[in-house]
């Protein structure tokens, strides 16, 4: 299963202040651990909301609202996409992240396929597998 890990904004991230070297090093090390464990699928840091915008949909009307946005603690400043076996595994990984004063949220991702209910072997792909297995046996 996958989890999206949502890192919230703070005054510094909203002011466009880059994290200091110590934090960057610690975060780099943590990311490396995630990659080495085969857990990290994706991850990005987001720029301040002043560089972003919102589009408000109301009835048929679309209104563009430019950043920055006020509610700093509600804003997302970065995310990871993790592949883990359980929510607890995601929590254990998150506990190892080098954060200090913040709250980080994890949310399970909907998977497109409903495993079990409609998973059936498929012609062409099965053919590919046979071929691949034949190749692997050589």
């Amino acid at each position: 299963m996958r989890f999206m890990v949502l890192v919230k904004a703070n005054k510094d991230s909203e002011a466009g202040v880059l994290p200091d070297e110590k934090i960057l090093t610690a975060m780099g090390k943590f990311n490396e651990e995630l990659v080495k464990a085969g857990v990290m699928l994706a991850g990005e840091g987001l720029q301040a909301s002043s560089k972003g915008a919102r589009v408000r949909f109301s009835g048929g009307k679309k209104t563009v609202l430019d950043g920055p946005f006020a509610e700093t603690k509600e804003l997302v400043a970065g995310f990871w996409l993790w592949q883990v076996k359980s929510k607890e595994e995601a929590i254990e990984w998150l506990k190892r992240a080098p954060f200090e004063d913040t709250e980080v949220e994890i949310r399970q991702v909907f998977e497109m396929e409903d495993f079990g209910a409609n998973l059936t072997p498929e012609l062409r792909e099965q053919e590919e597998r046979t071929r691949a297995q034949a190749a692997a046996r050589k």
Binding site: V35, K36, A37, G38, V39, L41, A42, L81, Q83, V84, K85, S86, E88, E89, I91, E92, W93, E111, M112, E113, F115, G116, A117, N118, L119, T120, P121, E122, L123, R124, E125, Q126, E127, E128, R129, T130, R131, A132, Q133, A134, A135, A136, R137, K138
Partner: protein, 417 residues
């Protein structure tokens, strides 16, 4: 936290830490079976102590320290035992290397050694698979048994015997060198891909652990890619699995019927996995050298993944990749696939010429895809009578009911054409 919460937390910690734990312990005690027992002992200790005292701040270090102490106790006992037994009084020399410092450095090396030991050629393929999932994946015997649709005692026995075999054969805890490395790595890749395919073959109604095997294989592949980042074939295998996994959600329709690759809704392909697959492929290609079989298969899968619509598929490139693959690992099945690609790239006539060469191939005599492909090419050449015969033959050869229905439908379509 309730007791159940703590147990789930312990499961998660085990998932994250067990491979490193077992790898580090194997280095100390030089016996993977004993190392796993020690790690399990530490797990049992955690299950006893954490529900009362709470989960420690650094649970991995706690497990490591607990297991380490037991390892040292065991070594001392064994050393004493040996001394008594052989009446040799050489002090401490049996304890090599210094276990405490040995445990802390080069965890990556230890993990890689563990990968090679779990996939050692002295073991049967089945045993390699079970041991890899157990030691490196941190799966329980019950999970492995459910995934492979066999009774749990079978897997438990398989693992016990595998560990015994490794001990009896005194298999060294090391990364093989030189030409042996390539052969042994290829056995590791084979085990991982086998696990992936087992998950990929999961069908409706299967235990959820079966499709889970795809994720396990991907995880093992991704870990291996970081352990041996200079091995292009590892990236090739990872790329192949990522791209194949990207189609899992698109390969059947709502009623569970298979959808051919070219008919799949590409919007339902997982584009995160495609991106990862293409990146892994590029990473392997950047290392240079002639691509191996996994990299070539990944490159073929990538041709499909890159095409935004089926008609944009670069069939010429696919045909040439199959040619390279056939050169490397000659097989009639690969030739048949090449014929399909050639038919798409250069017209049905060219494809049919290749397929006809395969008709005498004994290994394809009862392979339903040979008449199926031939029927398709004949149909495109408007040779409908011959095409119908091939589709009917293919239908009689397949063991898959849905596939048979599809083929009979195609045979019927020849009449109206």
């Amino acid at each position: 936290m309730t007791a159940a919460d703590i147990h789930r937390t312990i499961d998660a910690v085990w998932r994250i830490e067990s491979a490193r734990l077992i790898a580090g312990l194997t280095r100390i005690v030089r016996d993977v079976g004993l190392a796993e027992d020690l790690a399990q002992d530490a797990l049992v200790a955690a299950l006893e102590k954490w529900p009362e005292g709470g989960v420690p701040d650094n649970p991995g270090a706690w497990l490591m320290a607990t297991a380490k102490n037991r390892a040292i106790d065991t070594l001392r006992k064994n050393a004493l035992h040996e001394r008594k037994h052989e009446e040799i009084g050489r002090d401490g020399e049996t304890l090599e290397p210094d276990p405490v410092t040995a445990l802390d450095d080069e965890i990556g090396d230890d993990l890689l050694r563990l990968v090679f030991i779990a996939c050692h050629p002295v073991l049967s393929t089945e045993a390699r698979v079970a041991l890899t999932l157990r030691l490196l994946g941190g799966l329980t015997t019950d999970e492995i048994a459910r995934a492979f649709l066999v009774p749990e005692p079978t897997i438990a026995q398989r693992i016990v015997r595998a560990k015994r075999t490794l001990t009896e054969a005194s298999v060294p805890f090391e990364v093989p060198r030189g030409s042996e490395f390539v052969a042994r790595l290829s056995s590791v890749l084979q085990v991982i891909y086998l696990v992936f395919n087992e998950g990929y073959a999961a069908t409706a109604g299967d235990d959820w652990m079966r499709p889970q095997l795809c994720e396990e294989a991907l995880r093992l592949g991704r870990i291996l890619a970081e352990l041996v980042p200079t091995e292009a074939e590892v990236h090739g295998l990872v790329a192949l699995m990522e791209i194949q996994a990207s189609r899992i959600g698109a390969r059947v329709n709502a009623s569970g019927e298979p959808i051919l690759l070219l008919d799949q809704d590409r919007g339902r392909w997982d584009h995160v996995l495609i991106g990862r697959g293409l990146a892994a492929l590029a990473r392997g290609e950047k290392l240079g050298g002639a691509p191996g079989p996994y990299a070539l298969q990944a490159a073929i899968a990538a041709c499909h993944a890159r095409a935004h619509a089926a008609e944009e598929t670069d069939w010429r490139r696919i045909a040439s990749l199959y040619e390279a693959l056939a050169d490397l690992t000659p097989s009639p099945v690969i030739e048949l696939n090449r014929a399909v690609a050639v038919g798409m790239a250069f017209g049905p006539e060219a494809g049919l010429a290749l397929v006809d060469e395969l008709r005498a191939e004994p290994s394809l005599a009862s392979y339903h895809l040979l008449p199926s492909v031939r029927g398709d090419l004949l149909f495109k050449l408007q040779r409908f009578d011959e095409a119908r015969g091939e589709f009917e033959r293919a239908a009689s050869l397949t063991r898959n009911a849905r596939e048979r229905a599809l083929l009979l439908e195609r045979a019927k379509a020849c009449d109206g054409s």
